[in-house]
Amino acid sequence: MRKKAQAEITEIISLVAIGIALIFFFVFILPKFVSAMFQMIALQSAKVVSRDLAGFITISGAATDRITIFYQPQAKYNVGIADRVVIVEALEGLKDIATAKAGVDPRASFKSVNYFEIRKWIDVQQNKYEVEAEEHEK
């Protein structure tokens, strides 16, 4: 009878411990893991990269002399830049396509790249822009 009672107490303690471990897992560990996972997916999306590229291209024009902006997103993309529109196709993750508007007019086209250099300089009172990209090892 005494052994049975002891077994019951051990069982209850085990269950309570498992319960506490589960609460800890749900409250502290799982949200962080899921949050990190979604953050990675979001940062890889074509929408974010197209917006970033268009923003960098435009704001490079705010430099009064010359400037080079380096940008390395977390996945590979096909990119087309023409008529002040940046079109990005993600080749990894969500594999989505997105466009973003730029305020100035460089032209470029790249396949399967994950590293960008945006250059701006002044030539005879006129801003000149150039975008180069290549595939870099992660």
Binding site: K4, E8, E11, I12, L15, I18, G19, L22, F26, L30, P31, V34, S35, F38, A42, S45, K47, V48, R51, G55, T58, I59, G61, A62, A63, T64, D65, A82, D83, R84, V85, I87, L94, K95, D96, I97, A98, T99, K101, A102, G103, V104, D105, I122, Q125, Q126, N127
Partner: protein, 203 residues
């Protein structure tokens, strides 16, 4: 026998709690994070474009004061302003967002002189939001067994996905008016001034 029943019930309760917890966490994380990310991506797109446009304008060698060696960002040359804030000028051809209407105004706060221009950005088919909407819908296609329960039955999308794409794209339209403190150099003197940029993104 009674204690065995209690422990079995507790295991069942814990299992149910585990399942409920998993569902709740995934639901809140999916919904909550999706909207956080969407908000971060789309929020204030027109506002950002307006700010960028102004920053590029006040740094442009076409209207910013230059001593021949360097360009003075934020100090506009009144003669250049008068020659460039006209229809078809190099400045307006070089800077501006597609499928948008822009109003650029410069005012000298000492003398009250002002100059403004309304101009249209280039028309760009890939820049149309309808293409973003189509791309959004393409990425939201969901083919699985529950298609027969969707509205209408057999639809490739969930209603929530269609609404999300509509909300995302519709939020890209809008108008933003902002004024920026600048200096204006006129006849060798520097005056306080204001640059007013209005950006209307049409489609």
């Amino acid at each position: 026998m009674k204690s065995k029943g209690i422990s079995t019930t507790m295991i069942q309760i814990l299992t149910a709690l585990l399942v409920l917890g998993l569902i709740a966490v995934f639901w809140f994380m999916l919904i909550g994070y999706y909207f956080d990310v969407e908000a971060a991506v789309i929020s204030a797109e027109v506002e950002r474009h307006n700010l960028n446009l102004a920053q590029v304008l006040i740094s442009s060698p076409r209207i910013a004061y230059s001593d021949g060696d360097k360009i003075y960002r934020g100090i506009l040359d009144w003669d250049k302003v008068n020659s460039q804030l006209v229809s078809g000028s190099e400045l307006l051809n070089e800077i501006g967002y597609p499928n948008s209407v822009m109003v650029i105004g410069v005012k000298n706060l000492d003398t009250g002189d002002s100059k403004s221009i309304v101009y249209f950005g280039s028309f760009s088919i890939p820049g149309l939001n309808i293409f973003d909407f189509i791309a959004c819908m393409q990425s939201a296609i969901n083919i699985n067994i529950d298609m027969i329960f969707r509205i209408p039955p057999g639809s490739l999308w969930y209603i929530s996905d269609i609404v999300a794409c509509e909300v995302t794209e519709a939020s890209k339209y809008g108008t933003e008016v902002r004024s920026f403190p600048i200096s204006i150099r006129k006849n060798g003197e520097v005056h306080p001034g204001v640059l007013i940029v209005t950006l209307l993104e049409l489609w």
